[in-house]
C-alpha cells in the first residue's frame, strides 16, 4: 500500500515537473511547478522528513511560486515573450539523449548506494548535549551551525545583490509596490492581508518555538512570516520599506548579527559557535527567533525586487 | 672586501635608477650628476676588484632561491673582463647620453632604464650558474626594451616588437636547454663543469643547439640577427649600448660560458660542435660584412658591421685553441671600444649636421675634424689596420685558426678585412677628401660643437689605439685575456 502510494507520488512528481518545464503557457508552467513543489513536500513527508517538507512547501513551492508569478507579470507588462513551446527543434533530440543518458548513469550510481540512516545514531548520541529534541534543528543550529550561519549571510547577500540592480535614480526608494491595482480586488485582498498578518506572526512564532523539539524552525517560521508580509503588502495593508530606512536595515541584519555575535561569544569561552554547557537550548532558540524574523523580512523583500523609480511600475 | 661584493656591485645601479625614475624632468642637472657619480663609483669598485682578482682572490655570493637552484654570483677573470668593459663604457655612454639628449623628453625614464641595463649586464657578467645567467639575461631584455622604443615613433615601436620577439624566443630556448641539462646532470654551475659523460651525445648536441641558438639571438648570429639592424631606430646612445656593451656582448659572453664553463672544451671537441659553430660564425662574419657594404644608412652599415664583428668572438671561442681563445676574448673588449666610438661619432654627426646617410658624409671631416678623427681610428681598427686594437684580435684569431688546424679561418679573416675596408674606406674618403655641400648654414652647424658630445668618442678612440699599441703592457685587455686563458682553459 505504502509502496504503491510512493510510486504514484513519484510518477506524479515527474509528470508535474515535465509539464512545468514543457507546457507552452508559462502561467500554467508556474501552476504545475507549485503543484510539483507540494508533491515534493509530500515526498518529504513520506520520507519522514517533516522539517524538509515544511521548508519545501513554504519556500520551494510557496515563495518561489509567488516570485515566478510576480516576475512573469512584470515581464509581460514590459512586453516580454515568455510563452512558447520549446520542443520541435531537431537539436533538442540530442539534448534529450544526452540528458537521459546522464540521468541513467546518475540512476545507476544512486542504485549502487545503499540508503541508510547514516549519521542518525551519531546525532542521537549528541542530542542530549544541546538540550533540544529536534535532530534537524540540532544539526542546523549546533553541529553544523557554521553552515547555517554562512547561509543566513547568503540570504542577506542575495537581497543586497538584488538591491544593487536598482536603477541609479531609484535609490533609495522602496521596491515596486505589490498592491493590487484593481480597487475592488484590493478591497478583498486588504481585508485578508490584515487578517493574515497577525496569524502569520503567531504561526511563525509557534513554528520557531516548537522547532527546537518538533518539526519546525527558523527557516519555516521565517517563510510563513514572509508569506504574511507579502499578503499584507499585496492587500496594501503594509507598505514596502525604503532601502535607506535604518530601522528596516537593522531588522534585516538582526538574525545574522545575533547568530554571529553568539558564535563569537562562544569563541571567547572556548570555540567559535560552541555553546556553553546548559545554555545551548536557550541560545539556539534566541538565534532562531532573530533569524526567523530577519529571514521573513529578507524573503519578502527578495520577492519584491530592487527599488524602482516611481510607484507606477506594475 | 666582503663576499657580498658581487651583489653590491650588481645592485649599485639600482640607486641611480630609482633616483632617475623619481626625479622630475626639470631636475635634469641633479639626475645627470647622480648618474655620473654612480658610474664613476662603479669604475672605482671594479678597478679595485681587478686588482684583487689578479692577486688570486675568489669572491662568491650564494643564495638558494628555489630548491636545487642556487642564485650564485662569482667574480672570476672572465667575468671581470666583461664587467670592466661595461663599467668603463658605461661611464663614457653616460657622458655621451647627457650631451646627446640635452633636455629632451622622457629622460628620467631613459636614465632609469639605462641604469637597469647596467645592473643586468653586470649581473650577466657575474653570474655563477647558467640559471642565474638566464635571470639577468632576461632582465636585460626587459630593461633595454624601453630604450629601444624610446623615440616612441612607429619605427621604434616596430623595432621594439621585433627585438622582443627575437630575444624572448631566444631566451625561452636557452631556458629550456639549461633546464633540460640541469635535470640530466644536476648542476649547471660555471665553476664546476658538470660530468656529462652519462648523457647521450645526441641529447647533449640538442641542448647545445638550444642554448647556443637562444644566446645566438642576442649575439646576432645569422640567421637570428634581424632584430639588430631594426633596432637602429633607437637613439645613438642606445645603439652604442646595444652594440658595444650590453646586449650583443651578453649573448656572445653566454656562448663563451657555455663552451668553456658548462660543456668544457673537451666535450665540445668530442661532440664535434666546435667546427660547425666556427663555420656559422664565419658565415655571419662574411654575411654581415656583405650586407654592411650594401647599406646606404650609416647606422645600418654600422649595425651590420656589428653582426659581423661579434662573431669574431664566437669564432675565437669555437676554434678551441689558446691563441683563438685569447683572440676571441680580447675582441670582446676591442670590438666594444671601437664600435662604441663609431656609434658615438655617427650620433654626433647626425645630431650636429643631420648626417644620416653615407652619401651625406661629404666634407664632414673638415667640419668636425675631431669627431671624424675618432671615427677614422675606430674604422681602421675594425678593418684590422695596425696598431689599432682590432689588429691584435685578428692576429690572434688568425694564428689560432692555424694552430687549431683550421687554416680557412685565415681566409675568412682576410675576406672580412677586405669587406670591412670596402664599407669603411668610402666613408673616410667622402669625409676627408670631398668638399662639404654648399648649403646655407651647414658649416655653422658643425662649428657649434658641444665638447661633451665629442669627448667620449675621443676617449674611446684613444683607448682603442692604446689597447693596440700597448697590447703587451700589464693593464691591457690582451694581458687580461691571456690571464683568463691561463687560469681557466689552458691547463
Amino acid at each position: 500500500m505504502t509502496a504503491a502510494f510512493e510510486l504514484i507520488l513519484c510518477l506524479m512528481i515527474l509528470g508535474t515537473a515535465c509539464v512545468a518545464l514543457l507546457v507552452r503557457d508559462f502561467l500554467a508552467a508556474i501552476a504545475f511547478f507549485v503543484v510539483f513543489g507540494n508533491l515534493m513536500g509530500l515526498a518529504w513527508l513520506a520520507l519522514g522528513a517533516v522539517n524538509v517538507a515544511l521548508a519545501e512547501i513554504a519556500i520551494g513551492a510557496g515563495v518561489t511560486g509567488v516570485l515566478l508569478i510576480l516576475t512573469r507579470g512584470r515581464l509581460l507588462a514590459l512586453g516580454e515573450q515568455i510563452d512558447g513551446n520549446p520542443l520541435g527543434h531537431w537539436l533538442n533530440l540530442g539534448a534529450a539523449v544526452v540528458c537521459s543518458a546522464f540521468a541513467v548513469v546518475l540512476g545507476a550510481a544512486v542504485l549502487s548506494i545503499a540508503p541508510d540512516d547514516g549519521l542518525a545514531p551519531v546525532i542521537d548520541r549528541l542530542m542530549p548535549r544541546i538540550g533540544v529534541e529536534n535532530p534537524v534543528t540540532g544539526v542546523l543550529l549546533a553541529f553544523r551551525a557554521y553552515d547555517t550561519l554562512l547561509e543566513s549571510f547568503v540570504l542577506l547577500g542575495a537581497l543586497v545583490a538584488v538591491w544593487s540592480l536598482a536603477p541609479a535614480d531609484a535609490w533609495p526608494r522602496a521596491p515596486a509596490a505589490l498592491r493590487m491595482t484593481d480597487p475592488a480586488a484590493l478591497n478583498v485582498a486588504e481585508s485578508f492581508g490584515r487578517l493574515v498578518l497577525p496569524i502569520a506572526l503567531v504561526v511563525a512564532a509557534y513554528l520557531v518555538w516548537v522547532g527546537s523539539d518538533r518539526p519546525g524552525g527558523a527557516f519555516q517560521g521565517g517563510t510563513v512570516l514572509a508569506g504574511g508580509f507579502l499578503l499584507a503588502a499585496m492587500g496594501g495593508a503594509m507598505g514596502l520599506p525604503r532601502s535607506d530606512d535604518p530601522a528596516f536595515r537593522w531588522t534585516l541584519v538582526a538574525g545574522p548579527l545575533v547568530f554571529l555575535a553568539i558564535g563569537l561569544a562562544g569563541m571567547a569561552l572556548g570555540r567559535f559557535l560552541a555553546y556553553p554547557e546548559g545554555m545551548a537550548k536557550a541560545l539556539i532558540v534566541t538565534i532562531e527567533y532573530f533569524l526567523a524574523f530577519s529571514i521573513g523580512v529578507t524573503l519578502a523583500l527578495l520577492v519584491a525586487g530592487p527599488p524602482v523609480r516611481a510607484e507606477t511600475v506594475p | 672586501m666582503m663576499a657580498g661584493a658581487p651583489l653590491f656591485l650588481i645592485l649599485l645601479p639600482l640607486i641611480p635608477a630609482i633616483i632617475s625614475f623619481s626625479l622630475p624632468e626639470r631636475l635634469a642637472v641633479w639626475r645627470n650628476a647622480v648618474n655620473l657619480l654612480f658610474a664613476l663609483v662603479k669604475v672605482g669598485i671594479v678597478a679595485d676588484l681587478l686588482r684583487q682578482v689578479r692577486g688570486g682572490v675568489d669572491l662568491e655570493w650564494r643564495y638558494t632561491f628555489l630548491p636545487g637552484h642556487d642564485f650564485l654570483l662569482r667574480v672570476d677573470t672572465l667575468a671581470l673582463l666583461f664587467v670592466s668593459l661595461s663599467v668603463f663604457l658605461w661611464l663614457i655612454t653616460t657622458v655621451y647620453a647627457i650631451a646627446y639628449f640635452g633636455r629632451g623628453p622622457n629622460l628620467s625614464r631613459f636614465f632609469g632604464f639605462f641604469n637597469l641595463c647596467v645592473l643586468s649586464a653586470t649581473g650577466v657578467a657575474l653570474s655563477g650558474t647558467a640559471i642565474t645567467f638566464f635571470l639577468f639575461y632576461e632582465l636585460l631584455t626587459l630593461a633595454t626594451w624601453p630604450l629601444v622604443v624610446h623615440n616612441g615613433d612607429e619605427k621604434s615601436l616596430r623595432a621594439g616588437r621585433i627585438y622582443l620577439a627575437y630575444t624572448l624566443a631566444g631566451s625561452a630556448a636557452f631556458l629550456v636547454g639549461i633546464l633540460w641539462l640541469k635535470t640530466l646532470v644536476g648542476s649547471v654551475e660555471f665553476t664546476a663543469p658538470p660530468d656529462l659523460s652519462a648523457v647521450p651525445p645526441l641529447t647533449l648536441t640538442l641542448i647545445f643547439v638550444l642554448c647556443v641558438g637562444g644566446l645566438g639571438v642576442k649575439a646576432a648570429l645569422v640567421p637570428l640577427h634581424a632584430w639588430l639592424p631594426a633596432a637602429m631606430a633607437a637613439p645613438a646612445p642606445v645603439s652604442a649600448l646595444l652594440h658595444a656593451v650590453a646586449v650583443v656582448k651578453a649573448g656572445a659572453f653566454g656562448i663563451v660560458r657555455m663552451i668553456y664553463d658548462v660543456y668544457g672544451i673537451g666535450t665540445v671537441a668530442e661532440l664535434g660542435l666546435g667546427t660547425p659553430l666556427a663555420a656559422l660564425a664565419s658565415v655571419t662574419i662574411l654575411y654581415g660584412s656583405l650586407r654592411a657594404v650594401m647599406q646606404a644608412d650609416i647606422k645600418k652599415r654600422l649595425a651590420y658591421s656589428t653582426v659581423s664583428q661579434v662573431s669574431y668572438i664566437l669564432l675565437g671561442a669555437s676554434l678551441i685553441g689558446p691563441f683563438a681563445v685569447i683572440g676571441g676574448l680580447v675582441h670582446l673588449v676591442h670590438q666594444g671600444i671601437m664600435k662604441i666610438t663609431l656609434f658615438m661619432c655617427a650620433g654626433a654627426l647626425s645630431n650636429r649636421l643631420g648626417i644620416k646617410a653615407v652619401a651625406d658624409l661629404d666634407g664632414a671631416g673638415r667640419l668636425m675634424p675631431v669627431t671624424m678623427g675618432a671615427f677614422t681610428i675606430g674604422a681602421l681598427g675594425m678593418i684590422g689596420v695596425p696598431p689599432v686594437a682590432g689588429f691584435i684580435s685578428k692576429w690572434y684569431l688568425g694564428i689560432g685558426g692555424l694552430q687549431s688546424g683550421a687554416p680557412w679561418v685565415v681566409a675568412v679573416m682576410a675576406g672580412s678585412s677586405l669587406l670591412n675596408a670596402a664599407y669603411f674606406l668610402p666613408m673616410l674618403y667622402r669625409a676627408w677628401l670631398l668638399p662639404p655641400p654648399e648649403r646655407a648654414g651647414f658649416r655653422e652647424l658643425g662649428t657649434s660643437r658641444d665638447r661633451m658630445l665629442i669627448l667620449p668618442a675621443v676617449v674611446t678612440a684613444a683607448a682603442a689605439l692604446a689597447a693596440g699599441v700597448f697590447a703587451s703592457s700589464a693593464v691591457s685587455p690582451l694581458t687580461w685575456a691571456k690571464l683568463i686563458a691561463e687560469r681557466g682553459y689552458l691547463e
Binding site: 548513469v105 550510481a109 549502487s112 548506494i113 540508503p115 547514516g118 549519521l119 546525532i123 549528541l126 553541529f143 553544523r144 557554521y146 553552515d147 550561519l149 554562512l150 547561509e151 549571510f153 547568503v154 542577506l156 547577500g157 543586497v160 545583490a161 538591491w163 544593487s164 540592480l165 536598482a166 541609479a168 535609490w171 535607506d244 535604518p246 536595515r249 537593522w250 545574522p256 554571529l260 558564535g263 563569537l264 569563541m267 572556548g270 570555540r271 567559535f272 560552541a274 | 632561491f65 628555489l66 630548491p67 623628453p105 625614464r109 638566464f134 632576461e138 632582465l139 626587459l142 626594451w145 622604443v149 612607429e154 615601436l157 616588437r161 625561452a172 631556458l175 633546464l179 633540460w180 635535470t183
Partner: protein, 485 residues
C-alpha cells in the same frame, strides 16, 4: 581564539556594518584592512598542524577548519587584494553629490561577503560547507559583474548556478555514499566506484565552469571586461581561484586514490588548450579590458596544466608549490592589471588599446603598475609568475612531458605578445596626452599589488615551505624537512 574563525567572522561582521551604515560603509575598510591583514599574519604564524572543529563538534558530522599551505598562501594574498581593491574603489563607490547610490551602498557589503566567502572556502575541509561558501562568492560576483553589464551578469549567473548545482549533486552522492562530506575523511574512505567517480566528475565539471577553464570559459570575458575596474579585479583575481582550489583539493587530497592518469591528462590538456586559446584571443582583442580578461582565461589554463605535472612528479611538492604560487601571483598581478587598466582608460577618451598612446609619460605610475603586473603574468624574472612557470617547466622537462613544456614556453611568448602590445602603445607617441593627475593614493593600490607579484619572485623558498604545510599525502614532501620539535 583562532584566526581560522575570525578570518570568516570578521568580514561578515563588516558586511553587516556596511549594510547598516549605508553610505558610511566605505570607511570600514580603514578598520577592516588592518584587522584582516593582522589576521592573515596570525594565520601565517600558526603552528603547522593548526586545525580545529567549529563548535567542537567532531567529524564526520562537524566542520573542520584548518590552516594548510593552500590556505596560508591564498588567504593572505586574498586579503591583500581586497584591501588594495577597496582602497582603489573608495572614490568610485562613494555617494554622488552627497546622495547615496545603489552602487555606492551595495558594493561594500558585497565586497565583504565575497571576502568572507573566499576565506571560508580556503579554510574549510567540508565539501558541503564549501558549497555554501561558493554561493557566497558567486552571489557577490554576479552582483559585481552585473554592475557593468546586466546581460553579461545574467549569463554569468546562469552558468554559475548550474555549476553550483553540479557541485551540489556530487556532494549529495558523496553524502549518501560515505555519510560524510569531509575531505580529510573522504581521503581515507573513498573507493573508485561509480558513485564516487560520478560525484568527482560532476563536481569537477561544475567547478571548472566557475574556474572558467577552456572550453567552459565563455562567460568570463564579457563579464570581466564589462564590470567596473575594481569589480573586474575581484572577479579575475579572487573569484575564479576558489573553484580551482577546490578542484585541487578534490583531486589530490579527497580523491587522490580515485583519480586516474587519463583524467589528469584530460584536465591538463584542457589547461594547455586554455593557455593557447586564451592567449590567441587576447592577441586578437582591440580593446584593453577584454584583452586582460582573455589573459585570465589563458592564465587559468596554467593552473590546470600543472595537474599532470604534479601527478607524475618525482618531487610533487615542487609543481604543487608552483601551481599555488602561480595562483597567488596571478591574483596579485591580475588585480593590479585591472586596476591599472581602469586608471589608464579613465584618463583617455576611448577603451581601445590604440587610445593609450603616450600614457607612459602622462601617467608613469599606472603604466609601471601595468608593466610590473605584465612581467609576472608573462612569467619573466624576477616575479612570482616566473617562479611558478620555472618550476612547472622544470617539472615538465624532468618528466619528459614535451607537450606541456612546449605549451609553457609558447604560452609565455604569447603572453609577451599580447601584454607588450598595450605597453608598446603606451610607450609610443612622443606627444603625451593631457590627462588628469593620476591620484597618488589610487595608483598606490595597483602599484603595491604589482610590486608584491614581483616580490614573490624573491621569496621562492619561503613560498615552497609554506605550500608544503599540511599538504595532502599524495604530495610527498621530501623537500620540507620540518625541524624536529
Amino acid at each position: 581564539m583562532s584566526p581560522l574563525d575570525l578570518l570568516v567572522a570578521a568580514p561578515l561582521a563588516f558586511m553587516v556594518a556596511a549594510l547598516v551604515l549605508g553610505q558610511g560603509g566605505r570607511w570600514l575598510i580603514l578598520a577592516a584592512g588592518p584587522v584582516m591583514l593582522g589576521l592573515s599574519a596570525w594565520l601565517l604564524a600558526l603552528p603547522p598542524d593548526a586545525a580545529h572543529l567549529v563548535g567542537n563538534w567532531d567529524l564526520p558530522l562537524g566542520i573542520l577548519l584548518r590552516a594548510d599551505g593552500v590556505a596560508r598562501l591564498l588567504v593572505p594574498a586574498t586579503c591583500v587584494c581586497f584591501v588594495a581593491v577597496a582602497l582603489y574603489a573608495w572614490p568610485e563607490f562613494s555617494p554622488k553629490a552627497g546622495r547615496e547610490t545603489a552602487r555606492a551602498h551595495t558594493f561594500w557589503p558585497m565586497l565583504y561577503l565575497m571576502w568572507g566567502g573566499s576565506n571560508a572556502g580556503y579554510l574549510t575541509t567540508d565539501l558541503f560547507n564549501l558549497y555554501v561558501t561558493i554561493e557566497m562568492v558567486s552571489l557577490a560576483a554576479v552582483a559585481l559583474a552585473a554592475m557593468g553589464s546586466l546581460a553579461a551578469g545574467l549569463q554569468y549567473f546562469m552558468i554559475a548556478l548550474v555549476g553550483s548545482l553540479a557541485y551540489l549533486l556530487g556532494v549529495a552522492l558523496l553524502a549518501g555514499h560515505y555519510d560524510t562530506v569531509d575531505a580529510t575523511l573522504l581521503a581515507v574512505r573513498a573507493r573508485p566506484d561509480l558513485p564516487t567517480v560520478l560525484a568527482l566528475a560532476v563536481m569537477t565539471a561544475g567547478l571548472l565552469v566557475k574556474a572558467a577553464l577552456f572550453p567552459l570559459h565563455g562567460w568570463l570575458p564579457p563579464a570581466h571586461a564589462a564590470a567596473p575596474a575594481p569589480a573586474s579585479a575581484l572577479l579575475s583575481a579572487i573569484v575564479v581561484k576558489l573553484g580551482f582550489v577546490i578542484i585541487l583539493r578534490l583531486w589530490f587530497e579527497a580523491f587522490a586514490e580515485v583519480v586516474r592518469p587519463a583524467a589528469i591528462h584530460l584536465l591538463g590538456g584542457m589547461g594547455a588548450l586554455a593557455v593557447i586559446y586564451g592567449s590567441i584571443q587576447a592577441i586578437r582583442q582591440e580593446r584593453l579590458k577584454p584583452l586582460v580578461a582573455y589573459s585570465t582565461v589563458a592564465q587559468l589554463g596554467y593552473l590546470f596544466l600543472a595537474f599532470p605535472l604534479i601527478w607524475n612528479a618525482r618531487i610533487p611538492g615542487e609543481p604543487w608549490a608552483a601551481v599555488l604560487v602561480h595562483a597567488v601571483a596571478h591574483m596579485l598581478a591580475k588585480a593590479a592589471m585591472f586596476l591599472a587598466a581602469g586608471l589608464m582608460l579613465k584618463a583617455v577618451a576611448g577603451d581601445r588599446i590604440s587610445d593609450l598612446g603616450g600614457l607612459a609619460r602622462a601617467m608613469p605610475l599606472s603604466v609601471t603598475a601595468f608593466a610590473l603586473a605584465a612581467i609576472s603574468l608573462m612569467g619573466l624574472p624576477p616575479s612570482g609568475g616566473f617562479t611558478a612557470k620555472f618550476l612547472l617547466l622544470h617539472a615538465a622537462i624532468e618528466q619528459g612531458q614535451v607537450i606541456y613544456a612546449g605549451v609553457l614556453v609558447i604560452g609565455g611568448l604569447l603572453g609577451a605578445a599580447y601584454l607588450f602590445r598595450p605597453l608598446s602603445v603606451a610607450f609610443g607617441a612622443s606627444a603625451a596626452p593631457v590627462v588628469r593627475a593620476e591620484g597618488a593614493l589610487r595608483v598606490a593600490a595597483p602599484l603595491t599589488l604589482a610590486a608584491l607579484a614581483i616580490a614573490l619572485g624573491f621569496a621562492g623558498m619561503t613560498l615552497i615551505e609554506l605550500s608544503s604545510i599540511g599538504a595532502p599525502p599524495a604530495i610527498a614532501l621530501p623537500l620540507a624537512e620540518e625541524p624536529g620539535p
